[in-house]
């Protein structure tokens, strides 16, 4: 399984059992092993746990390789440090600012940074962290320079200063509990599935109406807020502060904890933090070499256990337990369904790539309830047309309207939200998720999405497609025909107003093809406009009343299947006779 593979959705309560047991063990450990030094280490582990829980938003869920988490940590630490030492603010006053300032900063840079590709994103976030480090060392009047700040105010609660021992530990770990709970609420169920889809299949995410940019920015800002909170706790628990909080080694520690614990997992974040903070103690015999062991641990986990320790625990725990789940009975509802059909109008559409015209003045109409087949030789512009209608490309000229709404300037997820659905030439199924969740994600962009409701709807369409028995199976392991039908099911589950299918019949068995025809006819009978691109002309002729033939970016014929197939221009386009059209 790949590093980007999913945090699996806990399918049943029992999945939490090992984690509850683990938390109890940790509490016991603290209660009985806790000399003052031991308690200090556990407190430090709590600070890191909060940092890593935050990092899981951007790294684990949004799948963005951010190297700025250490910088947010340092920023939060210095906000508390500077306000506390220079202005005498108490911790309870500085803490909210330590959370808000990094979050505000993240919000400010989210838009330009998050549109960068992986390697540039990593570099940009690393560059930001370096600037912060240089600033902390050199802006001496504010930060105390390399010497740092001493006398950072301690937490004062109910008149008691929490300097060390149990009170401080409990304070830090209650914040970890609050932070963990909040993170769990923000990423469980449908929200987690939405991030999973975005990470694995950004195109599929947009095609069900998810705004990837917004989701990623949210994750980035949340990460920063948690990082700032952890930084503030770090400063106050130590009482002193130096530019080392901006050091790359903190970022590496955070990354290591996330990867070793389990990417995207809250339990993994805590496990990773507790383990790696104690690692130096356990490896004390190695003296200064323990950091080498640290690197080796990271390397080994990346290679051998890409899902981290949390993934291992889950696999071990789930072995022998079926993943069947009884879904709550939810009466048929139209919640999240699109209403009625819509007419597609394409007028004079043109698109060139590097001076080569892919489409050159195409006109096309699909009425509500109508199924139109789009044929044409390879390279005639069929997929380009699908990508223009669904917003993946912007046209050079021409218009696309859904009923009366112009959509040619909208982004893919905005078009999807109008009730336009599509499938792709190669099915965009999410690896690491079940078939049922691949379909349930269609509801992720609705108001107040509920995973049980979405799954129960998904199960209905899976039954219509004859795939009930495979519902809980891993999507990536399915044969091509099943994958394709599942993608069609995802596109149809909410009853789209316009459906665009790119080569749906490729790789289907005869039975599956019959199922597909039935599904599409059923959809059209409810009023949806359906545009089907396919190479299989007999299949299309049986399905569509009207065919449109593209060649070299232009419509060369249009009409009933019989008329189009008899058309001289069509025959020439396909059979390639060299006669010139008179």
């Amino acid at each position: 399984m790949s590093v980007t593979s999913a945090p699996s959705q806990p399918a049943f309560r029992a999945a939490h059992a090992p984690w509850i047991a683990g938390a109890a063990l940790l509490a016991l450990y603290a209660a009985f092993m806790g000399d003052l030094y031991g308690l200090r280490l556990l407190t430090q582990a709590g600070v890191y746990a909060l940092l890593v829980i935050g990092y899981q938003f951007v790294f684990g869920h949004a799948g963005a390789f951010s190297l700025a988490q250490g910088a947010f940590f340092g920023l939060g630490a210095y906000v508390t440090g500077i306000l506390g030492t220079k202005f005498g603010w108490g911790f309870l006053a500085t803490f909210p600012l330590s959370v808000l300032l990094p979050a505000a900063f993240a919000l400010l840079i989210a838009a330009p940074v998050l549109r960068l590709e992986t390697h540039y994103f990593a570099l940009a976030t690393l560059g930001l962290a370096q600037v912060a480090l240089i600033g902390a060392v050199n802006w001496e009047s504010l930060t105390g320079g390399a010497n740092g700040l001493v006398g950072v105010p301690r937490v004062t609660l109910f008149g008691a200063r929490l300097v060390t021992g149990w009170p401080l530990l409990l304070f830090v770990w209650s914040l970890v509990a609050v932070g963990g709970l909040l993170a769990w609420r923000l990423t469980r169920g449908m929200k987690g599935l939405a991030y999973h889809t975005l990470r694995e299949r950004p195109l599929a995410a947009a095609s069900v109406g998810l705004d990837g940019g917004m989701l990623r920015a949210t994750a980035f800002v949340l990460s920063a807020a948690y990082g700032g909170a952890a930084g503030a706790l770090h400063a106050t628990t130590l009482g002193v502060l130096s530019p080392e909080v901006f050091d790359f080694s903190i970022m590496v520690a955070c990354l290591t904890m996330a990867v070793v614990g389990g990417r995207g997992r809250i339990a993994g974040a805590i496990l990773g933090a507790v383990l790696l903070v104690h690692l130096p103690e356990w490896l004390r015999g190695l003296e200064q070499y323990y950091l080498i062991a640290y690197g080796a641990a990271l390397l080994l986990v990346v290679i051998l256990a890409p899902d981290g320790l949390a993934g291992i625990v889950d696999r071990f725990w789930r072995r022998g337990r079926g993943r069947s789940e009884t879904l709550p009975f939810i009466p048929a509802s139209t919640r999240g369904a699109h209403v009625g059909g819509a007419a597609l109008h394409v007028e004079n559409l043109a698109k060139s790539f590097g001076g080569v015209a892919a489409l050159d003045g195409v006109n096309l109409r699909v009425a509500p309830g109508e199924i139109v087949g789009l044929i044409g030789p390879n390279g005639s512009g069929k997929s380009t047309l699908a990508n223009l209608i669904t917003g993946l490309y912007r046209p050079d000229r021409g218009r696309i309207r859904l009923d009366t709404t112009p959509i040619e300037t909208l982004r893919p997820h905005e078009i999807a939200r109008l009730g336009v659905r599509r499938t792709f030439q190669t099915a965009e199924l999410i690896a690491g998720a079940s078939l049922i969740d691949n379909i349930a994600v269609a509801y992720a962009a609705t108001a107040n999405p509920s995973l049980p409701h979405a799954r129960s709807r998904a199960l209905t369409v899976l039954a219509e497609a004859g795939l009930t028995s495979r519902a809980w199976e891993e999507a990536a392991a399915q044969p091509a025909g099943v994958r394709r039908l599942a993608e069609v099911a995802r596109a149809t589950v909410r009853g789209p107003r316009l459906l665009v299918l790119d080569e749906p019949s490729a790789g289907l068995t005869e039975d599956e093809r019959t199922t597909l025809v039935r599904l599409l006819r059923n959809l059209a009978s409810k009023g949806a406009a359906v545009l089907v691109i396919d190479h299989n002309v007999p299949f299309l002729s049986g399905l569509a009343r009207r065919l449109v033939c593209l060649e070299a970016g232009r419509v060369i014929a249009e009409g009933t299947p019989g008329a189009v197939l008899a058309d001289e221009a069509v025959r020439r386009a396909y059979l390639g006779t060299a006669e010139k059209k008179p």
Binding site: S2, Y120, N138, V252, L291, Y294
Partner: protein, 293 residues
């Protein structure tokens, strides 16, 4: 600042740039071969620096004599790096390699720290100390030797990549691994060799830099960042671009540091980088067509 000082400054910048160019060259070769960033690259430079410190302690010969030895030993380290941190992760997304090379970097840095301590160490001079006099201009031997050695190594790499069977195979692997495999090239081996070459160049740069700029265990990060930035300036995946980018960074750093200070020079460099990335998200010159990242 008079003209003579300016020329002196530019010569020093050229010497620094020559070493940076070797660093950036190895960095971009690995990017092209693997589609991933080698975060341990700066630590390879650092390792080469400490290797030359250690060898100079054992063999009292000029650095230029040690250079082939350092490069050869570093090539072996490069092979080990590819075996540990890249080849097991070939079928994974690039981020897995980002993380594994960070892990190796941590190991290298802390090994150096454990063996040599955190204090800066001076590497051997390339060809003795002292200065060469050219007209009114004094060019110190170390700068001249740095430039000469780097030019020889850059030229040798160019010849290796374009005029030898093995270099052509390495380039084919970087350009289109599927096609190369279909033609019978053992791509895994070529990628391992690319790592070896990159590490050898990095080690050479470490030796070149060690005398004038000292070696510290923690310097890897900022060297890697400079190589990274050089590749952004030169266009992702462009070999010649990375070399030019490295020269520009050295020039920028030397000039700004001369007028202001080293930390300010570095901060301004990162700030410029961020602005460039925000304004041109595809890099200054854009990516090489069809390159996966």
């Amino acid at each position: 600042m008079d003209a003579l000082t300016l020329v002196q400054l530019l010569l020093n910048a050229a010497a620094l740039g020559a070493a940076y160019a070797l660093v950036a060259l190895g960095f971009v070769l690995v990017i092209n071969a693997t589609g991933a960033v080698n975060f341990a690259h700066g630590d390879l430079v650092m390792s080469g620096g400490f290797l030359s410190v250690a060898l100079a302690g054992a063999l009292p010969v000029p650095g230029i004599v040690l250079l082939p030895l350092v490069a050869a030993l570093m090539a072996i380290l490069g092979l080990a790096l590819s075996a540990a941190a890249y080849l097991p992760l070939r079928s994974r997304p690039p981020v897995a390699v980002f993380i594994s090379t960070i892990a190796v970097g941590v190991m290298l840095q802390n090994s150096a720290n454990a063996i040599f301590g955190a204090a800066p160490r001076g590497g051997p001079p390339l060809a003795g100390d002292g200065a060469l006099s050219l007209g009114g201009l004094t060019l110190d031997r170390q700068s001249a030797a740095m430039i000469a050695a780097a030019v020889v190594l850059l030229a040798a790499t160019q010849i290796l990549l374009t005029h030898t069977q093995i270099g052509k195979r390495m380039r084919a692997t970087a350009q289109d691994p599927e096609m190369a495999r279909a033609l019978g090239v053992r791509t895994g081996r070529m990628i391992a060799l690319t790592f070896a070459l990159a590490a050898a160049l990095a080690g050479a740069a470490g030796l070149l830099l060690g005398n004038r700029y000292f070696v510290t265990p923690a310097e890897g990060g900022s060297l890697m960042l400079k190589a990274y930035i050089a590749v952004v300036i030169g266009g992702w995946g462009r070999i010649g671009g990375a070399v030019i980018g490295a020269l520009l960074i050295a020039l920028f750093e030397s000039v700004v540091a001369a007028f202001l200070s080293q930390p300010i020079a570095e901060a301004v460099l990162y700030a410029v980088l961020l602005i460039v990335l925000f304004v041109r998200p595809g890099g200054i010159l854009g990516e090489v067509e069809g390159r996966r990242a």
